[in-house]
Symmetry: C6
Subunit: 223 residues, 6 copies
């Protein structure tokens, strides 16, 4: 099953696309959410650039927490583990950034990812979709792996001219300029935003701390 | 006794299978659970890929805690030490992932592992059994070491064609696609699942904290 | 859109100027502010000197917190993430110091940065603007990228003699000697200073702690 | 006195046996127990494999704490320092594992180690005694150093055939299969086991915390 | 302005003297004091020996805290950042120790440093001024940079014989044997010592803790 | 003054003896005690073996705390900084162990070290004085530096045969077998031991915690 599209929609499981000297390959990215302390764990022999792309994806997601229905303090109470099998193959580069973003949003919201979609694209800290290399090899790998839809950065549309017709016919190729578009396409349902006013929350917390402090053993006694 | 099957069913002791340039070998994996703070310690001259496979196994097990009868907060109160003797021989690679998963589940549940079973297979973060190399050498080592049953990834079944008949006759070879099947075969009894509702637990904890806070030294006295 | 001026004024997004062996380039610096514990995270394959320049910028900004309307204790409750795409290209050197300073002030104050301005210059711990190399290539990149105004260190004014006339006519080039001038030019509005007396704050906190301590469950009741 | 047997039975002082390219040597292992936080410090230019063997010994000892009369929570309140003089000579390998186990048990229980005994053998996480190399050179060093009794792993008994008769006559050589046998031979008295029921302890602690919580300033007073 | 004397007396800004293969140079050392936790941050591409010289300077200053009017507990509530521009030039060696000492004392006391003074000399943990190399080149750089007064270690007085007369006439050269002399010359006013009795402070703190403990919610009520 | 005996008896200042390819040298070891958290800081370009010798010395001193009049909990409230000028010369080896022990005891007790004494010798974790190399060169350096008395390990007495008569006549050379002898010779007065019963202290602390717990807000009210 390795190197093929997933068999069902799953939470935290995203198909990225890798490009190596021997061609394109599907990346079966797996993310888990565990009770914890806001830590990010990464495994799968990932290089520094890929690890940084996960950091950038993670900060971007934290910055849009209320838009995906997640209260910001929740991040301090969970750890996220991102693993990219197989464990023996080195992987690097920033081009799985949009896929990492999707995996993180999926585990935070509990919304599954569509099994027949793959994606490639660097993500910036603001969620911008940035161009990648090896588009042709990646699309070939997607087709070979049974993928139906591929999300690519808008800035790579110019490279589609070099892609064989059968590949373009066998895949729905959707250009995106921002991670928010990726989430719309890849998640099986749309997250529901919540209201969140950090200033108000801080004020309420300070107020509560104050009240607790002044009450602390105050021994208010009425007769 | 080194390089041979265990003499009795033990908690935390699992037989993996290694494959080196000089042939296959039994890996006598040992795990211990100690009072602690949720840390994982690994010893035995393990390479980075093997350490990451232990991380992946550990996160997978945490993600299924209630299914094996373990309350998630328990993880914060214990450390797990995984050791792979002998201490002087370097070991690496992801193929002991299923064995690490089994060792960790065994120490968490206190359920012993069958002494006459060995296993090979990478584990993904979702518990998927992933294919490995060196199947022939590993099976030969298992036979030589007195093992009765070997669990292998389903995706390696195709490699059985190259295995000598005497090996296939001397061992019960069971293909698996997921860690849950491994646990069923390897543990001497089935863990009993518990109910666990993280949201409810969080709410109860928040409630308790609130009550404690407002009570704190309140000294409400009526006359 | 990579390598071009931004399309709108944004919080935390600053255009720096890089100079490599193949010419000048725009640096699209992105900063985010997240709830946290006073940590600085940096990504984008940044070298040690660039990371240190971010540290210097950050300490300078902390030292002027009240002047930009930020209460010093606020720093302990947030993390700042600075990312410089693209993630695969190594970047180094101290010359983005003024741009980093601007990005950090922008995320702390919530004041957007003018989209058509770029800047180059090392920043000292006191906010001094220090000279940089590659001015010609940087100005060419700014012009090419659609930038209108470029801030340069006063000490680099002497290098303007070597700059082609069309570049000097196509750009407003403003020499600066200090980060405070940079902020005046680059932010879309001026931060409002606050009063802050650290000694008084410390004394008040000590007083509060003392009062809380002696009250702690004291329940002094007279009838 | 270096390279000779100890002059008196001491707590935490164990004689191991090393094997280098220039022959065998006594290892005068020293352990100290200090008030602390459960940390292990090691000095004496120890290589990674020897440090890991100390980790394995330490975890094994923690796992048998009640059997040697030590309450498990005690480990969190002390540090152990293991030093192997002389400080300038690099030392490595797993074969001092049984000796490290003995040193750690000695400092925890306060029971001295017999001065005229030496030992060699890797220890597994379960306390198994595992075979070592260089038996002949080690036994020669023991004899030369005035040692009376040497503990060796059972699996090395086969190597005794190559040992000169005068060595076998000058030393009492005792094969062992497990660390528990080592402790019986090496300690000057047997540790007294205690009863320890971790579940019961946890429950009691939880109960106490609860009671303290609900009492916290409750001051329930009825008239 | 880089490589020149400062334009005004400033807190935390000290002129050191460096000596490289291409001659002497002014080091414009900058120090900042920030609310924090007793950490020392250093930037400016400093080598390990220079970082250690900052550590030694810092410990020396902590050891004389009451003599410069600083209560020792204050150190736990602030961080100090020492930066040596420019950020791209590697700097190393112990000879800026006296300058680092001066910068740290200046930020702790808030007393400015004289702008027309430069200094060179290693500092020992006791504040002793230790000899340095490259005196001639350093003095030349000082003269060139507009410095009026240079402090040098007493043990370097013998090297003055090799210094050209115009340099010795253009600079006031003051030999020092101890950091306390440096502070007298370099600070614009003398710090006022305070009384500090650590034993008494500890006893008072223990007493307060005890009182708070026994009072905690004691609710002593008399009618 | 560098390379010469000290001018007065000082707390924390000990003269060690180094031996390099170019001969012997005095090591002017400096130690400071600072309010802190039980950390050891070392500076002066020290190699790993010398750092480990400081660790061993430190643990030995902690293990004899009551014998030198120091309550063990005191260690958690102070940091010790050991510096060996000059900062630019690399230093390594275990032979300053006895000197480090003396420096640490001196700063803990506040008892000065005799200015005209030097010492060489590795220290074991039990305080044993262990043999060193380069005795001749070290003694020559001591004589040259104005030292009156040199402490050497008993096991080095055999090397005195090779020492020129004038050196042996110019120095009082005292062989020692244990750090306790070193302290007797080197400190200007003998530390006064205290009684310390760790078990009793622990029990008292537990008792106090219990009492505080049950009192916590108990609101005992009598009418
Ligand atoms: Ca592969
Ligand atoms: Ca689109
Ligand atoms: Ca082996
Ligand atoms: Ca199956
Ligand atoms: Ca690029
Ligand atoms: Ca200007
Ligand atoms: Ca030796
Ligand atoms: Ca036996
Ligand atoms: Ca320069
Ligand atoms: Ca003087
Ligand atoms: Ca020197
Ligand atoms: Ca003696």
């Amino acid at each position: 099953r390795f190197g093929l599209a997933e068999e069902k929609d799953q939470v935290g499981v995203v198909t990225g696309l890798a490009y190596t000297s021997v061609g394109g390959e599907l990346l079966n990215i797996e993310a888990l959410r565990l009770p914890g302390k806001g830590r990010m764990k990464t495994t799968g022999k990932l290089g520094d650039v890929m690890k940084e792309s996960i950091d950038a994806a993670s900060s971007y997601v934290r910055s849009i927490a209320p838009e995906i229905g997640v209260k910001p303090p929740k991040f301090d109470k969970l750890d996220i583990h991102v693993h990219v099998p197989d464990g023996a193959t080195p992987k690097d580069g920033p081009s799985a950034g949009l896929a990492m973003t999707t995996a993180i949003v999926s585990v935070l919201t509990g919304i599954p990812v569509r099994k027949d979609i793959a994606m490639t694209g660097e993500v910036s800290l603001r969620g911008n979709a940035m161009p990648i290399g090896g588009l042709k090899e990646k699309l070939l790998a997607a087709l070979r792996g049974g993928i139906k839809t591929v999300l690519i950065p808008e800035e790579n549309v110019k490279d589609l001219a070099d892609i064989p017709d059968n590949v373009k016919e066998g895949l729905e190729i959707i250009p995106v300029t921002h991670a928010s578009e990726v989430l719309e396409h890849a998640l099986t349902k749309k997250p529901e935003p919540i209201e969140w006013d950090q200033e108000a929350e801080d004020a309420a917390a300070a107020e509560a701390a104050l009240r607790k402090g002044s009450d602390d053993g105050a021994g208010a006694v009425t007769h």
